[in-house]
């Protein structure tokens, strides 16, 4: 494979594809692949419940929240959950979006306690409200910091882009 090409779909589809589709049911906006990872897009209202269902399902058993990231797409904020199971070799990516004018998603702290600081960080840096989170006080930033430095709209005065477009 030369640099620049990438497979849209892995050689063997994920064995859990059908089971995930079954659980997500009507909530799935799309189910596809990004490199070798199975990727599920859902509306934000359904995400916490769905995560709980995926964790408790014995065939999937996504007990390990690998990562929770927030991505700023200018008009929308996207939350990406990377899940893994330790007793099955399964992995899954869940994505959900919230509009910039009304930035909230439900908290998943009830599903994995490990979501706690990731969500506080997302609130700190991106101003995304994780609805239902018990304590969204500043984690990485100091008290009274103004603005959301993770967002693209936040201006870093000293930042010089060398080869940017």
């Amino acid at each position: 494979m030369t640099a620049g090409d990438r497979p849209e779909q892995p050689a063997t589809p994920s064995p859990i594809e059908d089971r995930v589709r079954e659980i997500a049911a009507d909530n799935a906006l799309s189910l596809g692949y990004s490199f070798d990872e199975l990727e599920l897009r859902v509306p934000r209202d359904a995400v916490a419940e769905l995560c709980g269902a995926l964790k408790s399902d014995p065939d999937l058993n996504f007990t390990y929240l690998r990562c929770l990231s927030v991505v700023d797409w200018q008009d929308e904020l996207e939350v990406v959950y990377h899940l893994a199971s330790l007793n099955h070799p399964h992995r899954l990516v869940i994505k959900t979006r919230a509009p910039m004018e009304d930035p909230w998603v439900p908290t998943t702290i009830g599903v994995w306690r490990g979501a706690d600081w990731h969500e506080r960080e997302g609130h700190d840096l991106f101003g995304l409200e994780f609805r239902g989170h018990p304590d969204l006080s500043p984690l990485l930033l100091y008290d009274g910091f103004e603005g959301f430095p993770g967002r693209k709209s936040y201006h870093i005065p000293e930042q010089v882009t060398f080869y940017g477009d």
């Binding site: 494979m1 030369t2 640099a3 620049g4 090409d5 990438r6 990004s34 490199f35 990872e37 007990t63 390990y64 929240l65 690998r66 990562c67 990231s69 927030v70 991505v71 700023d72 990406v80 990377h82 330790l86 070799p89 990516v93 994995w112 306690r113 490990g114 706690d116 600081w117 840096l125 500043p138 984690l139 990485l140 930033l141 100091y142 430095p149 993770g150 936040y154 870093i156 930042q159 010089v160 882009t161 060398f162 080869y163 940017g164 477009d165």
Partner: protein
Amino acid sequence: MATDAGMTASVSRDPMTEQAELRINMGPQHPATHGVFRMVLTLDGERIVDVTPHIGYLHRGSERLAEGENFQQITTLFDRLDYVANFNNEWVYVRAVEKAMGVEVPPRAEHIRLILSELNRIASHLLFYGTYGLDIGAMNPVMIGFRDRERIQHIFEGVTGARMMHNYFRIGGVKEDLPDGFTPAVRALLDQLRSGYEEARATLTESEIFIERTAGVGAIPPDDLLDYGVTGPVLRAAGIDYDVRKADPYSIYEELDFRAPTGQHGDCYDRYMVRMLEIEQSIAIVDQALTRLPDGPVMGRVPRIIRPPQGDVYVHGENPRGDLGVYLVSSGGTVTPYRLKIRGPSFCNLMALADMVRGMYLADATVILGSLDIILGEVDR
């Protein structure tokens, strides 16, 4: 009321019961916090009722800074996350870009990366060994740990020119080939490490005082550890066999003969033992990799300007502290990443601290914090 260097306290008295609860602020400049970490402890006598950790003192905004730098430059930011395991950090990042671009890494470069990363794991665990001894009150381990760690860093300096902050891994390979005499130098180093390991074992592992201080301290149920996303030696000490090198093998780990040591009780002593056993395993890994180190180029075919196609990748690797993950979003055609999220193992491991110290004695707090082996550069990013 000031009690100790870096500690300040306030007393609140309940008039109904006349029982006093003491709030102690520990850090951010306290030596036992291993960096700029602060926790507020609520005490009932000697017992810890609750703890509130405060982080962010070293927050440099690495993720946002990365959005303004081109892909080759970002390696330097990863050096500065977990600054005692630089190679391991660089490796995960370059693998993420390589996956996004579909770059093949030549076998020699894979071996060099693996040898340096495993040596770095040993160096990191030796640093833990030394400083953990200090946390407990033992002065000898730090001499042994730092002596051997310095020998490893001498090798690193010979290869990269720097003791730390190497910036040696490149997207598609490594910066340059190994210097002459690398293999015999590392073989001699491994012999020194083996004898140092025996010395270390006699000094701390079998010390009765050390065992008294650490055995049965700071254990929480394995399911809780998983729930918090705790990984690395802390998770394996509780008997959960999760090592990225085994669970999701990368590089040439599958072809090498090693095991991921696990503990049984999940207490501070087991965490210490798992790290010590990992030193043994890493020595064995380096030994095998040196034997099969192939000749050939050290850089793959990589375009001069790195522009990954549109899309996102998540790549992780086993860092000395646990599962380090990099989530890389590329908008396609640009020379800077659109978004880079770093999942630091120390960051996730630290979340479980409150559960571990609750109900323990104040003197155990530093023992438990030390056993997590956090590096604040990676917690705060």
